[in-house]
Symmetry: C2
Subunit: 354 residues, 2 copies
């Protein structure tokens, strides 16, 4: 049986988990949802040798050492790292991986490195479901069965099942982050799933659709890897040529325009860990309802999310707060307001300038 | 005119302002109420050369370097530091100072080094009022006119004015920290003042009362300084002899038993800074009602007290909290609950042990 090539996207530099997530150590390299980083958890998700071949990782040059450390395990001795000389969003990154994947009919499992999947068997089951369709040339997305009218995710409208593989459905269309009422309507309808940015597809089919809908990108990706040793541990695209590549997401550049796009809906305890509130929701609360990690003393304190990294956080008599601290910054907001992190980071930047 | 000898008590190791106040740097050495430490503010309070002679400071050997740094100013070149080899509370400390003061009729202004006095002219005025009585042999306390039924202070019941100096009243008795109803009754009565632990008295009169009411202490203090150079910058009592001295406060050992104890009531913006709540009360609030010091970003946040020391504290959407942070600890409690610091410190100690 052909082995699936895990393609792990680690180019993100998310700041929504500030003050812990910073440019030098973005969220995928933090141990937030478990005692391993989300990058390590993502790697571990695709290390079953019966299904998966060696992984391809795509990340920023500046995180080379971090990635190497995470890969330390002998299980990943065959993994290759594509070091992006500049950030060009997901569509070009996946193009580099598709080219590096080698044989054209290699099947890639594309996964962001900073998501949580609590129910691995359910996720692997969905991959098994999707594999025949992917091998036949479908670009298969994994759609998360929605658990609420979230306005922070894109949605996928599912159409009829495929004839040959009825557990895979056709994608009717992709829907951008909706307003609340629209999210509620889609939830009620029952035929919409959250777009998790996880895909199973043949490398040649991806490149074919890319050539059709984003030819400049297709050309730039090939050009950037021309003459580069694709068998090396570290694959370094030619910087100027890659810099010339347009920047776009796989959703916009390919998925929304491609033919033969399918979806496997799944419930697998997925979270994009897009905010401290999201992290508070997936944590296991203690008897007082607090989700706590690091050195924390919480007396008479209820329903707080407290993360202490290299510092001790102590509280008494407080409730429903998000408290994040490391040895340089402390952030305190009420639960439900973790989006304020953006305003805080901006205020801090403005102060540092003045 | 005889100059008053400032006697500054710096032996305290208060932990009520944890996590900033720790054994190696107790509260008097912290810049909490202004940009100078309270120790430095206390020194500055008694540097007017028209009233005051060189200061005598009494502190712990372990804080020698801290005290020397605070004394750095040339204005205090003549100050002497009595380094206590062990902590024996205020009565023995003041006995050492009284002996070191030299001439028996020297008048000492005894002040804790960790209080705030916002209205210096009022305080100096009270000293001028008290001076004739002190010179005549009265042990004069300064009583703070109460602004509320505080249960955290001792009270002094004032009796009739002295015949010769009617602005000084006799002390009827000292009252320990009262329950709420008793505090309210004393406030209503109008003839009670808070005991601030600040005294003006002749050195010989103090030693005389000490000899009468705590002879062991009187003997041990003299013995500990026997043969010690009292003119040196650093006065080091003989450790074993001082260790043999009973430990007690000036209130219990002397004031409550002595004859000729007077009081000058004063309103001088006094605070013993006995808790983070006390500090929040004396701070100057910004437009949002926050009292803030250090690197703080407080967005949409009201009525908080935030102190950041070597770390940046950021908040959004919170109110009525006390937030204290340094690079090793963060403490968060609601306003009004700063006494919880004790339980927090104990919980932390218990955790460190296990």
């Amino acid at each position: 049986m052909t082995k699936i090539t895990p393609v792990i996207l680690s180019g993100g530099s998310g700041t929504r988990l500030w003050p812990l997530s910073v440019a030098d150590r973005p969220k995928q390299f933090l141990a937030l949802a478990s005692d391993r980083s989300m990058f390590a958890e993502t790697l571990a998700r695709a290390c079953d040798a019966s299904r998966f071949g060696p992984a391809l990782i795509i990340g920023a040059e500046r995180h080379d050492a971090l990635m190497e450390t995470e890969l330390g395990d002998a299980a990943f001795a065959d993994a290759r790292i594509i070091l992006e000389p500049s950030a060009r969003n997901t569509a070009p990154a996946i193009a580099l991986a598709a080219i590096a994947a080698g044989s054209g009919d290699a099947v890639m499992l594309v996964m962001p490195s900073d998501h949580v999947i609590a129910d691995l068997p359910a996720f692997l089951g969905a991959i098994d479901t999707a594999l025949p369709a992917a091998q036949e040339g479908w670009l298969v997305t994994f759609g998360i069965n929605p658990t609420g009218p979230e306005t922070g995710f894109g949605y996928i409208h599912m159409a009829e099942p495929l004839a040959d593989t009825p557990d895979v459905r056709k994608v009717a269309r992709f829907i951008e982050k909706p307003p609340r009422d629209k999210a509620e309507a889609m939830l009620a309808q029952g035929d919409h799933a959250w777009n998790a940015g996880i895909f199973l597809m043949r490398a040649d089919r991806y490149l074919e659709e890319l050539a059709a809908h984003a030819p400049d990108m297709h050309r730039a990706a090939h050009s950037a890897l021309d003459g580069v040793d694709l068998a090396a541990r570290r694959i370094r695209p030619q910087p100027e040529r890659f810099a010339a590549c347009p920047s776009d997401s796989i959703d916009y550049a390919v998925m929304e325009r491609a033919t033969r796009v399918g979806i496997v809906p799944v419930s697998c305890g997925w979270s994009d860990v897009g905010s401290w509130d999201a992290l508070a929701e997936i944590g296991a609360p203690d008897a007082d309802g607090n989700t706590v990690s690091g050195e924390v003393i919480a007396l008479d304190s209820r329903n707080n999310h407290i993360h202490a990294d290299g510092i001790t956080v102590t509280t008494s008599g407080i409730h429903d707060l998000i408290i994040i601290a490391n040895s340089s910054h402390v952030m305190i907001v009420p639960k439900g307001r973790s989006q304020d992190v953006k305003a805080i980071a901006e205020a801090l930047k403005a102060r540092d300038k003045s």
